[in-house]
Each structure stands twice: as C-alpha cells, then as structure tokens.
C-alpha cells in the first residue's frame, strides 16, 4: 500500500500549478464570467500544448498515455484555478465515453482532436429538472435519427460534438437507452446558450430535429456505459472540487491573517479559527476519498463504483462548505463582485449539481454499499 502520488506526479502538479497561475489568474476567469468570451481559447490551446488535455488518452490516439492518476493531478489544479475552459465536458465526459465505447474509427477521429485542443466535446444527458435515470431520457432515436431537446448541456454552445443519450425502445428497462455520437455542426442541431450560476463554464440547450447520428457502443448498453462514464467523471470532478475547496480555504486563512478587528487579527478569534479548522477537516476527508477513487479509477478496480460515489459526495460537500465559509470569513468584502470569493461559490454550487445532484450519488452509494455487504 502506498497512499500518495508519486514524485513524478507531484512534479506534474507543480508544473500545472505554475502554468495555471500564470495563464489563468482570476482576471482570466473574470473575462469569461463578464461575458467577454465564451471560454478562454488561449488557455485551452496552452493546455493542449502542455499535453494536459491528452494525459489519459493513449499515444495511439494522440495523447501522452500517462494515465488517469496524472489526469487527477491536473483536475485538482484546474479546480484550484477555476479554469474557464470546457475541460470537464471534453476530457472527463466525452473522451472517457469514447475510450470506453468508441469504435477505432470514432476514436481516431475525435481523441487526437481533443488532445490537440482542436475539438470540444460534451455529454448531452439531461432533459430538464432531475437526476440521471433511464426514465428521464425522452429524446428518441429511430433508425439512428434523433429528435428531442437536451438541457442543460455543459459547454453545449461551444462543443464540436456531443455524446447523446437517447431512447430507442419502450420496454421500460435500462436497455432502452442508447448512446449516439453527433457532430454538432450538422443539420438539424440548434444550440442556445443558457444563463447559469457559474458563467465561467457555459451551459446550453441543444435541440435535435431529425438528426442522423452514429451510435456509440452497442444499442442496448447505453445506460451501462453512461453509468461508467459518470463514475469516472465523478472521481475527476471530485479532484476539481478538492482543488477548489483547498483554494477557498487558503483564501479564507490568508484573509483571517490579514484583516484586523478589535485590535487583533480576526484569525485569532476562535469562532473564526474553528470555522477554518472545520473547512480543513472537510477538505481533508474529501481529498482522502478522492485518492481512493483515483486508485480505483486508475486500476479499473471493482471498487470503482462505490469509491466514485464516496469521492463525489464528500468532494461536493467539502467544496460547498469551504466556498460558503470563505465568504463568511471575508465578511462584507466576501459579498462584493470585486473579491474572488463568489467565483468559488459559483463553481462549487455548479459542480455540485452538474453531474447529478447529491441525492443521486447518495442513492448510488447506498445501493453499492448494500451490494458489497450482500456479496
């Protein structure tokens, strides 16, 4: 047992942190938040040049083939920096789905483009309010022709292609669900950007009208592939959340050392110290759960489903907890547009629901623990 990243992986982390602190200061995040760009294209290009977009993509498909632990390392830094780029949709969702279920030709077409930063991908799963479930998917696929509306689709307005979850049967079982790969520039696709609580990452509505699409993976296995993609993304987004939580904690700590009230640093008041200690506790528990998830993801262990749900739940709670209390530590300043606290608060709450909300993952965790206990 060794429960830590290797020296090489830590070096990669330092490299990513340096790169992002230079190329992705809060100013860059704000440019996107303020609507000056849909995402930071220059940063995206830079991430490709650094090899960060393709760390987990095999060399045969244009990546570096380093692996998923390395991707976890990068994900944490992306979360810390609040990188305003379509990273999670492209790298965790679209690329993972392709790697799990794509044909050789599909992989050859899209994975090298992802690694090179020339294609943005996404997963079109949700159709309005609710959590992931086979029943919630109404968009139809008839002989490979899609009709229906997806919303919200992460980064849907800037994506070049989407993996779309569709219904092609009426047995009421999971096997009714299939996945399709759609080039979003083709006829019949209409996208509309949607206002959302965290504009540093876009959300969209995509309408499909008689769109001819190629299937991704066997027709009846769409739901099981999706579940696996969500589990993998849960660990990766977990690392983004841990990175964000840690940064929010640091910001709170630094402010507590700096701000004086009643003639003392506010960080010397126990109510403030204890709030920060509790933030540290939740960030630490989340990090540890994510490490376990990283191991399960990188080795494709049978523990992955349970590990992913644990990572997801605790990282969601930690980032929300740290982001909200970071504002509290900052007092009135924390509620100004000018201070960066709200950027973290926004991202924390967007990530918290973006992959299915807490209740979905709580359900999943309990089911998976029960299966293990029964086994």
């Amino acid at each position: 047992m060794n429960f830590d990243f290797s020296d090489d992986q830590k070096q990669l982390r330092d490299e990513a942190r340096r790169f992002l602190s230079e190329k992705c200061p809060p100013k860059a995040v704000r440019a996107v938040i303020d609507g000056k760009a849909t995402y930071d294209r220059e940063l995206w290009k830079g991430l490709a040049d650094m090899g960060f977009l393709g760390v987990a993509i095999p060399e045969a498909f244009g990546g570096s083939g380093a692996g998923h632990l390395e991707l976890c390392v990068i994900a944490e830094e992306m979360g810390r920096a609040l990188a305003p780029v379509p990273f999670s949709s492209t790298v965790y969702l679209a690329a993972e789905a392709l790697m799990l279920a794509g044909t050789e030709a599909q992989k050859q077409k899209w994975l090298p483009a992802i690694a090179a930063g020339t294609a943005v991908g996404t997963l079109a799963l949700f159709e309005g309010t609710g959590n992931p479930s086979p029943a919630s998917i109404k968009l139809t696929a008839t002989n490979g022709v899609l009709n229906g509306v997806k919303k919200p689709v992460p980064d849907g307005a800037v994506a070049d292609f989407a993996i779309v979850a569709a219904r092609n049967g009426s047995t009421g079982r999971e096997t009714d669900i299939s996945l399709f790969l759609v080039d979003l520039t083709c006829d019949g696709v209409e996208t509309r950007a949607l206002a959302n609580i965290d504009p540093s990452r876009g959300q969209a509505e995509i309408t499909f009208t008689n769109v001819k699409a190629e299937s991704l993976g066997p027709a009846s296995e769409g739901w099981s592939i999706l579940t696996r993609v969500l589990d993998r993304a849960a660990v990766l987004i977990g690392f983004e959340q841990v990175g964000g939580a840690d940064r929010a904690l640091e910001m709170g700590r630094d402010y507590a050392l700096d701000r004086i009230a009643f003639g003392r640093q506010i960080g010397s008041f126990q109510a403030v110290k204890h709030m920060l200690a509790d933030m540290y506790v939740s960030a630490t528990l989340a990090r540890s759960n994510c490490y376990y998830g990283a191991w399960a993801l990188s080795t494709n262990a049978s523990e992955l489903p349970e590990a992913a749900a644990s990572a997801r739940i605790s990282a969601t709670q930690a980032f929300q907890h740290c982001a909200k209390n970071n504002i509290q530590v900052h007092g009135g300043m924390g509620f100004t547009w000018e201070f960066d606290c709200h950027l973290y608060y926004r991202r924390a709450n967007a990530l918290a629901v973006g992959l299915g909300s807490l209740s979905y993952w709580e359900d999943a965790l309990i089911d998976r623990m029960r299966q293990r206990n029964a086994a």
Binding site: D4, L257, N289
Partner: protein, 414 residues
C-alpha cells in the same frame, strides 16, 4: 497510489491471518461483534482476564504491538504491516482497549526518554499485557490546560517526593505503572516548570479512587499522591522539560486514538438494513439513505486519511498535528449516529436493556459513552485549535498567563 499489498505485505498478511485463525479466542467472537463502544461485556469470562490472555498469547508468538522493536517486545513491523495486522485481527482487536494507553502513549514516551536498560526491563511486559500502564496527566485544575497542573515534585537526595492529585485517570485501578507529569518549579511560567516521571502504581502513598461515570461505568479514577517517593532514575527527560516530553506523548496519543476510531457507521448501516419501517426497510427510505451516505463518506474519508498518514509515516515522516482530525470527526459522528439510531427506533429508543432494546442496546450504550469521546484526549475545541494554529498557521489564542510565574496565576474565575 496503490492499495494492493506488495508481495512482502501479502506474505505478512497471510502469516497473520493463519496465526489468528489458529489462536484467537473464537468463543468470544460473537459477543465481541455485538459489543459497542462503551460496553464490552463477556458473559463467559472476565474481560480483564480474557484480554490479558489474548495479549500474552500474541506476545509469545511475536504479535504483541507488532510495530515495536523486537528488543522491546514487538516484531519491528512497518507502519503498513501494523495496519494489516489490525485489519486481520478484526473484532479481537477490541480486546486491546485496556492496553491502548500503555501501548499508544506510555510506551512511545518511554522509548523516547527512558534509559536503554529501563526500556528493556519495562517495555516487554508492557507489550505482553502483563503490566498495564496509565497516563497521569489531567488534574482538577489542569485538563485542557494541562500545563496548569499543581501536583508537586520536590527533590530529596536521589529521590523526588510527590504530593498532589490527578483525576480522570483511565484504568488507574488496574494499572501497574504510570507516566506522571508534575510541577518542579512554581516560580517560572507554567510550561517551564514541569517534569515527567514514570512510577510503580503500588508505591507507598498512591491512592486510587474510582469515579462513577455519566454512563454508569467506572473506567477512570482520582489518584492521590501523599509523599510518594520516585527515584531520580525514573525521570523522563530533563528537569523542567516535562512539557516537551508530554508533547511526545500527546502526539502519539493522537495517532494511536485517531487512527482506528469507531464511528458507529457500520453498525448504523446494518441496523438500517434490518429495521422495518411502515413502507419497508429503513434503508430504502430517502431521508435515511441521505444521512447514512453523509456519514459513510465521513467514515471512509477518515479511513483513507489515516492511510495517508501511514504512507507518510512509512516514508519516515513524523506523525503531525493533522492527525487531530481523527478523533474530532469520529467523536461527533459517534454521537450523531447514536442519536439518529434512537430516533429511528421511535418511542422504544428509550429502552437500553440488551433483551428489550433494538440491536441489543448497542446504540443506547454508544449514546451514553459518546460525550466522553469528545472530551478525552483533547476536547473538540482544543483539537480545532490545534488544526487552526499548527496546521493552518493561525495565531495562538491570547494567553494571559504566558509569561507570568506559575504561582502568580489566578486560580479561579471571579
């Protein structure tokens, strides 16, 4: 990042498993499984005797305190092998509760500060459970503020004469030895005038009075010292350096009690699976699932946090203040879990007898013991202070007594 055993670890696990299968006191396995924190009762045997017998058997085969050096009664196992041993020992590990203070705190302090011949003399019987040790730190005037203690030690030739009182001393009533912190100089600020010793609990002038606890049991005691003589050779560390010595103890304490804390979560999971509510098993209920999931990820987070600490330890790093997290999280969780388990039982949650209460009264016992977990070995508030100050680098609390000679510090509020 690797969860799998290395070949050596796998071999160690195999050996441990085989030995446990052949030697563990299986007749108590079921009772131990059912036992919850705050109540280990064995119908078939006296817990002290059963625990000592198991520890002795382990010692004879080299499994007592596996991570201690061989010369002191261990087997020089690595930190990871220690965890493997705990995993394999499973419920039988609950029998070790009596030895935690000795093995987790007194032993490491002796290892750091006693003379070599003392270590060879005292540590093996401590490892084997033949001798039980206790920790004589807290006093009526010095709990969280340990350095506020008043028990005096005065030099008399080659001996020290001890007078004063300790309180909340776990296991003092069956302990053979103890480590004791005293005040040797009241004229200097409080942290500077302390000195540490170890002593034979049967020394003349030591009097132990059990205290009845809030949960009805009696695990801790008052200990009175009247002109007790301790040879200077039993001093641990320099005169006046007792505070630093005690920090070694407390750091190890956090590691020892933080690493393997009960959280109540597996028990609650099992209970929610078997309990039938109006609409079916409790575990199918949305609200129940949500609570369980939140606690489950805290429990797994703690487990993997301790694995991270062990990984750091096996790379040669020392256990640091971040280990305070274990007891802080587990203590609150234990209390919340127990409260919730009673809530699920409705009106019958009030019952505590093993034959009438749900789950043989396990959660009622947990409820009544859990307040102590949040106090013993550092209160929640002190642990948060430690995290805030020593991990996050926030300013220390304002201390009005810091530079004042001990004998000039006010002793009572208003």
């Amino acid at each position: 990042m690797n969860f799998d055993d290395t070949p050596q670890e796998a071999a160690f696990r195999c050996e441990a498993r085989a030995w446990i299968a052949a030697n563990a006191p299986k007749e108590y396995e079921d009772e131990l499984k059912r036992a919850s924190l705050g109540r280990i009762q064995l119908k078939g045997g006296n817990i002290l005797e059963v625990a000592k017998a198991w520890q002795k058997k382990k010692a004879e085969a080299g499994w007592a305190v596996p991570h201690w050096p061989k010369d002191y009664g261990g087997r020089g196992a690595s930190p990871i092998e220690r965890v493997i041993w705990q995993q394999e020992e499973g419920v039988f590990g609950k029998l070790g509760a009596l030895f935690i203070i000795g093995h987790g705190m007194c032993g490491p302090t002796m290892m750091a500060y006693a003379a070599e011949d003392q270590k060879r003399h005292y540590l093996p019987p401590l490892a084997s459970g033949e001798n039980i040790w206790c920790q004589l730190f807290s006093e009526p005037a010095g709990g969280s503020d340990v350095a506020g203690l008043r028990t005096r030690a005065e030099k008399d030739g080659d001996d020290w004469i001890i007078n004063g009182q300790k309180i909340w001393t776990s296991g003092a009533h069956y302990s053979d030895f103890g480590i004791l912190i005293t005040r040797t100089d009241p004229n200097v600020p409080k942290h500077k005038g302390l000195t540490m010793f170890f002593l034979d609990m049967k020394s003349a002038g030591v009097e132990v009075k059990p205290i009845k606890q809030a949960n009805g049991q009696s695990e801790f005691n008052e200990v009175y010292f009247t002109d007790v003589r301790i040879p200077d050779a039993q001093r641990l560390g320099a005169v006046g350096d007792g505070w630093n010595v005690s920090l070694t103890t407390l750091m190890n304490e956090r590691m020892a009690i933080g690493a393997n804390m009960a959280t109540g979560v597996p028990e609650l999971f099992e209970f929610a699976s078997s309990l039938m509510l109006e609409d079916g098993p409790a575990i199918d209920d949305r609200a129940v699932r949500s609570k369980l999931a939140s606690w489950a990820v805290r429990a797994s987070g703690l487990k993997y946090t301790s694995f991270r600490a062990i990984s750091a330890l096996s790379k040669g790093e020392r256990p640091g203040p971040e280990n305070s997290i274990g007891k802080l999280v587990a203590g609150t969780m234990l209390q919340d879990v127990a409260t919730y388990a009673l809530d699920l039982q409705g009106a019958a949650g009030v019952l505590s007898g093993p034959d009438d209460a749900e789950a043989a009264g396990k959660f009622q016992a947990m409820l009544l013991r859990s307040p102590a977990t949040r106090v013993e070995g550092g209160t929640d508030e002190i642990l948060r202070n430690i995290i805030a100050e020593r991990v996050l680098g926030l300013p220390g609390d304002i201390r009005v007594d810091k530079d004042v000679p001990f004998n000039q510090i006010p002793t009572r509020g208003r």
